[in-house]
Amino acid sequence: MNILEFKPKYPREKQIMMLLNGDEAVAYATKQSYVDVVAAYPITPQTIIVERFSEFVANGEVHTEFIPVESEHSAMSACIGAAATGARAFTSTCSQGLALMVETLYIASGLRLPIVMAVTNRALSAPINIHGDHSDAYLMRDSGWVMLFVENVQEAYDTTIQAFRIAEHPEVQLPVSVHLDGFFLSHTMENLYVLPDEAVYEFLGGPRKLVKVKVDYFDEEVDYALNPAKPLSMGMLAFYDYYFEIKTQQVEAMKRAEKVIVEVNEEWYKLTGRRYGDGLVDPYAMDDADIVIVVMGSSASTVRSVVKKFREKGVKVGVLRVRSFRPFPHKTIARLLKEAKLVAVLDRAASPGSMGALYLDVISSLYMEKEKPIVINYIYGLGGRDLSPLLVFKLIEELAEDLKRGFVPEEKVVRYLGVRE
């Protein structure tokens, strides 16, 4: 395809410019995604998602059954029940709400239910804090959910719609969480372009399609859904006889999700003209970069804007934004980072007793490479501490010094960025 001749099916003039904050964008995307059931409990900074969506329901703009539950544990439980009957289900939460939900997160993924959830990343108590960091997201790291981190309001909209496609893909059948940074995106209004309703409907292929499963008491394969006419059981007891196989199937599905995320990103590009790197990672100025900063979420914008200024001065620095945290694209990241000289991985959550979760994934990706860069970990932005352009400026200057020295002592491998001494 000649890039100059490429025109998306819905070029910008066929889309609608709106002014929404991240929460409103997620609610609008959900409205267009033909969702059957939304069960949610409000929590700052996710509240606006629930408020807006309940308005759509009250106005009769959606066919959705809205369940105002009494806790986040119930929100996810209701979504699990709904999705088990074959419904397209959505919820949203963060922080303490997500912590309360954790038990049921594993059930959603273990039962292979393609639920979509928006997480407005927020710090965990104590001390109590309503602002954005990734400690809640890291809490669900191993829960078997596909986890996608977005950078701006447009991407929050785009990714919410994509999430249904990824979750419901026959090769995946896993729940997907869309992570937007609390306040930095949830409460930030930006211009965005939305598709007409029918375009979203078409992209999603209408309502949720069920996968078929083989059940020994039926001759033909049946829908994987609770249906009295074709009864089957979900969530059966599985001990040392089957549990292991069921879990490895989840692992395999997560690997397949990697390919599906890439495909959906490309398809979205053909539809809207927008794509985010290859869908898994979004690199900037990486080709000849000696220094690379790895980052997730809204901070990637600020980092990139400062990196551009350093590039103008001839400093060979690039940015690798990780969009898919789970599945973690180890091979892609190794390929993109192995030729750099110095890599700084920015984690917006601490792991007391170890290192940042993103950092650990990045260094394990690089371990098998013969030639590999020095990789440093920065813990930053806890409890919503702002990552200012000035702070990024100082970071890059510090990295340039490290590069010049060509060596980083062990005690300086894990650092803090923007903390008071």
């Binding site: 410019m17 002014l19 904050n21 309503i130 602002h131 950078e151 701006n152 940074d181 306040f183 930095f184 995106l185 409460h187 930030t188 209004m189 930006e190 211009n191 809204s298 901070s299 914008s301 600020t302 990139r304 804007s305 702002d386 990552l387 200012s388 352009p389 000035l390």
Partner: protein, 185 residues
């Protein structure tokens, strides 16, 4: 060109709404925008901040504004040297204020000519027209006086999208009056 505005007010005065309205008006004028609050503990009367970015290019930063081009102050009791911290040289201060002009310079700890200073009788006009204390839309009238950032017709559109009648019309009247009565000192 990127213009960055920092809004200072108190909880309940509509600081975030003002920021959103100006951003919306700028977007209707074809600009890329960003508008966001800095939430502290959410309580009425506490000092609050909001931020607006307006640009010809897509905005690629997600952090607070440290070096604004314009500072808008919705409540004159907030006037202090700290409030103008980071304001770019040649920057603009737009404050809600009626009274002795020297007081403003004194409280801000600046000299005449350091910055452009515009004073809006926002409390007075808001009480008169809306009979409430939310000075946010009146302050937009003060910004309109600058003549570049946003156009009146787009502010009107933003207000009509945000408020229903008769509140929208009253706010538009307020914006126009505030624009007329804003003085540059």
């Amino acid at each position: 060109m990127l213009v960055e505005i920092r809004w200072h007010g108190r909880g309940g005065q509509g600081v975030w709404t003002a920021s959103n309205l100006v951003a919306a008006a700028a977007a209707y004028g074809g600009k890329y925008v960003q508008s966001f609050p800095a939430f502290g503990p959410e309580r009425s009367g506490a000092p609050v901040l909001s931020f607006t970015r307006v640009s010809d290019e897509p905005i690629e930063v997600h952090s607070m504004i440290y070096e604004p081009d314009i500072i808008v102050i919705l409540d004159y009791t907030l006037l202090s040297p700290k409030i103008v911290e980071g304001l770019k040289s040649g920057g603009v201060i737009v404050s809600n204020y009626t009274g002795d002009v020297d007081f403003v310079f004194e409280r801000l700890g600046i000299k005449r000519g350091d910055y452009r200073v515009l004073l809006v009788p926002a409390s007075k006009l808001t009480l008169e027209i809306l009979r409430i204390r939310a000075t946010n839309t009146a302050m937009i009238g003060g910004l309109l006086k600058l003549g570049y950032l946003v156009r009146l017709e787009n502010v009107e559109r933003a207000i009509k999208e945000r408020f229903s009648e008769p509140l929208a019309e009253k706010n538009i009247t307020l914006v126009k009056r505030a624009m007329e009565e804003t003085i540059e000192v």
